[in-house]
Amino acid sequence: MWDLTVVALNTAKLRGATYADARLMHLRQRDLTTKNGQVGTLAQSESIGIGIRVLAAGAWGFASTDRLDREGVAACAAQAVSIAKASALAKRGDTKMVPENPYVDSWQAPLRKDPFEIPLESQLDLLLQADAAMRTIKGVTLTETDMQFRKIDSWFASSIGSRIHQRKVISGGGIAATSFKGSEIQKRSYPNSFGGQYALAGYELIESLELLRHAPRVADESVALHSAAQCPEKTGTLLLDGSQLGLQIHESVGHPIELDRVLGQEANFAGTSFLTLDKLNKLKYGSTIVNVVADARLEHGPGLGTFAYDDEGVPAQCTDIIKDGQFRGYLSNRETAKLVGLERSSGTMRTESWNRLPIIRMTNISLKPGSGTPDEMVASTDDGIWMETNRSWSIDDRRYQFQFSTEVGWEIKGGKRVRMLKNPSYSGITTEFWNSCDAICGKEYWTLWGTPNCGKGQPMQTMGTGHGAAPARFRNVKMGTAFSGH
């Protein structure tokens, strides 16, 4: 593999590149799903190729190929340089980057059970059993289960002398029951919606989820929602479970801190950010108990944003994003760090595959835990609504105004959960919302949630991100608006 990266770098240099990096990647994936007791998708795939990024004439070029011989790679590198020179026809200055050290390393994410070594029969058997357990509940009209496993090897080499091999194994899975009755479709998912929980882990993740144990409850709740009261439209106290809070962090903290958005590089598609450069170290992002970090290091946990080096050869780091409620940091790469005067990239360049250019992505953007238990948080709430498991999410293109709905809500009166609520939703303005946070549960209730489907970039890339969160409470939140008038 390294021979081909050498061909890429040498060719790029000969053609006039002042900087080059080459990433050869081998991706393997297995997808299993069931629906209503039948196997749905059953597929395996592999993809291997090389992506070559160069700076020439002061501008970027990138080309990729799956033709992995010396001639194919050399032609690809030459094409990348040619594209960079074309880019220079419409540049407004030479691209520069902050310095970075070269690294020679090999890293493998830890795992206990390689999911590709677990017999397919036992994986399918677990899903079919969970599917059957959900279908025992009367009123369930659709049952779905899924597992996905990925194994990613990357060999990164750059013209500053880095040579880094990384291997990551990602596992994910979940179950969902849907009930259609009258004029309503209600759904419950476990452990999270849109595919379940994902982590940088082996099959031990799937075993830890105890899908069979949760299947009857999930199905039962999907039916019970039809008899539940409608979530009221009001402004009041909102309590969020960790999985929904993870997505709230993703949308209202993770995306606006991306420096490429802040600098206008995503203006045409993903949008920009309200976190303009003047707000760094000045904006009171949240209440004083709100502490958020961007942490790609393994010690943070086996998240979808955990690695040893980013796809630009920068080591994994932990960056303060919000400290004691104050806005402290952005997600950067070597180029944007230079543009805003940082000394070093925060190491967040990531790519979906060999045929995609690395771009700034979230790593693990996590809310640090507070103290206390969810029961204590409920007990200290006189009047509120607990919402859990995301159903829909939407936020404007500068990341101010958001609206989320969840699969289920629970009304809290006098410190107790008193009844189930259907169609819960809440909305607000990002900084007003985070400043209203007055309780975050302790580390025993903190989970590093995996979001496997974050889309960004053109051409679109899908990336997994991690979000550590424990249940938390927010005051004076607008709730129930999504269903207003319908």
Binding site: T33, N36, G40, T41, A43, Q44, S45, E46, S47, I48, G49, W60, A63, S64, T65, R67, Q79, A80, S82, I83, A86, S87, L89, A90, R92, E121, T141, L142, E144, T178, F180, E184, I185, G264, Q265, E266, A267, N268, F269, G271, N355, I359, R391, S392, S394, D396, D397, Y400, Q401, Q403, S405, S427, I429, Q458, P459, A482, F483, S484, G485, H486
Partner: protein, 451 residues
């Protein structure tokens, strides 16, 4: 600069090799799908190119059937050993499951209509040509004190499908796209076009349009929430109604997750709403066959506001006692089928006429981050973006701060008052369709944002 797609003979040779390997490995049936893409995309922001990429890739996807079971394995390595491994992986996956009671024998040879959607000028556009167009658009932005961001992409792709019962289908096409956002701080506006023919894309006209609207979008005023008459430009229509397509899948109704359950044959939408799925429409792109190689049919989905027909894969057609319509996804899958080439019947109005005939309403350039809030009433939430304007007494009077909306698509299509002609439309959420501009009453704007 761009490379060339593999020849038809090369595709056939690979397909034949996989079919031979399938027989040798003991598969009862084998299906092979080849996808090849050559794409290039120039991305610009802050009036300069900042990303510029090219890719060339081919995948071979193998589906085998053994003892009433089926599974798929995909690789992008075309040497004999890798193809053999893909066949064996597919068989191993197939063996691991219980028999599939719904599995049908693979279809044999099928007749197809010829569609010509490959244009050499689109396929060979150089990065220098893209860069020159970007520079010209950026220079316009600079002259007007604005900031341009966007993409200019071109590509060529082909798809070939063959199986051990003698079916063979192939299709190739080109694609080009130019999208531009003009920022006139703190306002912005946007324009975009997509076509198989580069000659039908005018980057400078799009840049001019976005620039003029960005100037108009400044000094936005905040309005209170409420129900508004809206004039939706085609891109706004697309990104809303684009979420209706899967509801017309027979499998979605069988699974009871479609908003059309219990509503087929009823007056669900206004009488001015008619929708067909038609891959052969001159404004459409796409292959004339589906994931199993069945020829795509034109299907009338909604006639004068009444949902009349669904689309069917072979499996869902058999269950329903219907004929397949050529809309199935590649097997195995749990979603069945979907119409992918929607064409809305339009009207004879225009944006100008709609504005002129409106006492008070909102002109919507595009919408953003659309998500489903209620799957049966089809309530969608999202934001307006890149140019929201107040119309008063037949004229655009001021820019308005963007709104969050929570709007039932069913209700929206009951309230359409006027439509323009249907045009090939591209936006950022839904795939390309043929839709008109629409004027509709009672649009639920629930909360304004800060800009």
């Amino acid at each position: 600069m761009a490379g060339a797609l593999s020849s038809a003979a090369e595709l056939k040779k690979t397909i034949d090799a996989v079919l031979r390997l399938g027989r040798a490995a003991g598969a009862d049936e084998t299906e092979v799908q080849l996808d090849e893409t050559i794409d290039a995309l120039t991305r610009f922001a802050n009036n300069a190119i900042h990303q510029n990429v090219a890719e060339h890739g081919i995948t071979v996807s193998v589906r085998t059937v053994v003892a009433g079971r089926t599974a798929r394995a995909t690789t992008n390595r075309l040497d004999e050993d890798s193809l053999r491994m893909a066949v064996e992986s597919s068989l191993q996956l197939a063996h691991s499951q219980p028999p599939n009671r719904n599995l049908l024998p693979m279809p044999g040879k099928q007749p197809y209509r010829t569609v010509n959607r490959f244009l050499g000028a689109t396929a060979t556009l150089s990065p220098e040509a893209r860069a020159r167009a970007v520079k010209q658009a950026s220079d316009l932005a600079i002259r007007r004190g604005q900031v341009a961001a966007g993409i200019f992409s071109t590509g060529q792709s082909q798809l070939a499908l063959g199986n051990s019962r003698g079916l063979f289908a192939a299709h190739r096409q080109t694609n080009a796209e130019f999208s531009i956002t003009m920022q006139d701080d703190p306002a912005a506006s946007w324009a975009k076009a997509n076509s198989g023919d580069i000659g039908k894309i005018d980057p400078q006209a799009l840049a001019k349009r976005a620039s003029e609207k960005a100037s108009m979008a400044k000094d936005a005023k905040e309005l209170g929430p409420g129900q508004y008459t809206v004039i939706l430009e085609p891109a706004a229509v697309l990104d809303l109604v684009g979420f209706l397509f899967y509801d017309f899948a027979a499998t979605a109704l069988e699974d009871q997750r479609s908003c059309l359950n219990k509503r087929m044959g009823k007056q669900l939408f206004g009488k001015n709403i008619s929708i067909v799925d038609d891959v052969y429409h001159p404004f459409q792109l796409g292959a004339p066959f589906d994931g199993e190689g069945m020829a795509r049919q034109r299907v009338s989905l909604v006639e004068k506001g009444v949902p009349r027909n669904l689309v069917y894969s072979r499996v869902s057609a058999k269950k329903a006692g219907k004929k397949p319509t050529g809309h199935g996804f590649g097997l195995p899958n749990e979603y069945g089928e979907a119409p992918m080439n929607l064409v809305f019947g339009g009207g004879n109005s225009s944006l100008e006429k709609m504005v002129a005939g409106t006492d008070r309403g909102l002109l919507v350039t595009r919408v953003w981050y659309i998500r489903e809030v209620d799957p049966y009433e089809k309530v969608m939430t999202g934001m307006t973006r890149d140019g929201l304007f107040l119309v008063e007494n037949g004229k655009v009077t001021t820019a308005v701060r963007n709104f969050r909306f929570n709007q039932s698509l069913i209700e929206l299509l009951q309230n359409v008052q006027e439509m323009g002609p249907s045009v090939r439309t591209t936006a950022e959420e839904a795939f390309e369709m043929v839709v008109p501009a629409m004027k509709a009453t009672g649009f639920h704007c629930t909360e304004p944002t800060k800009f």
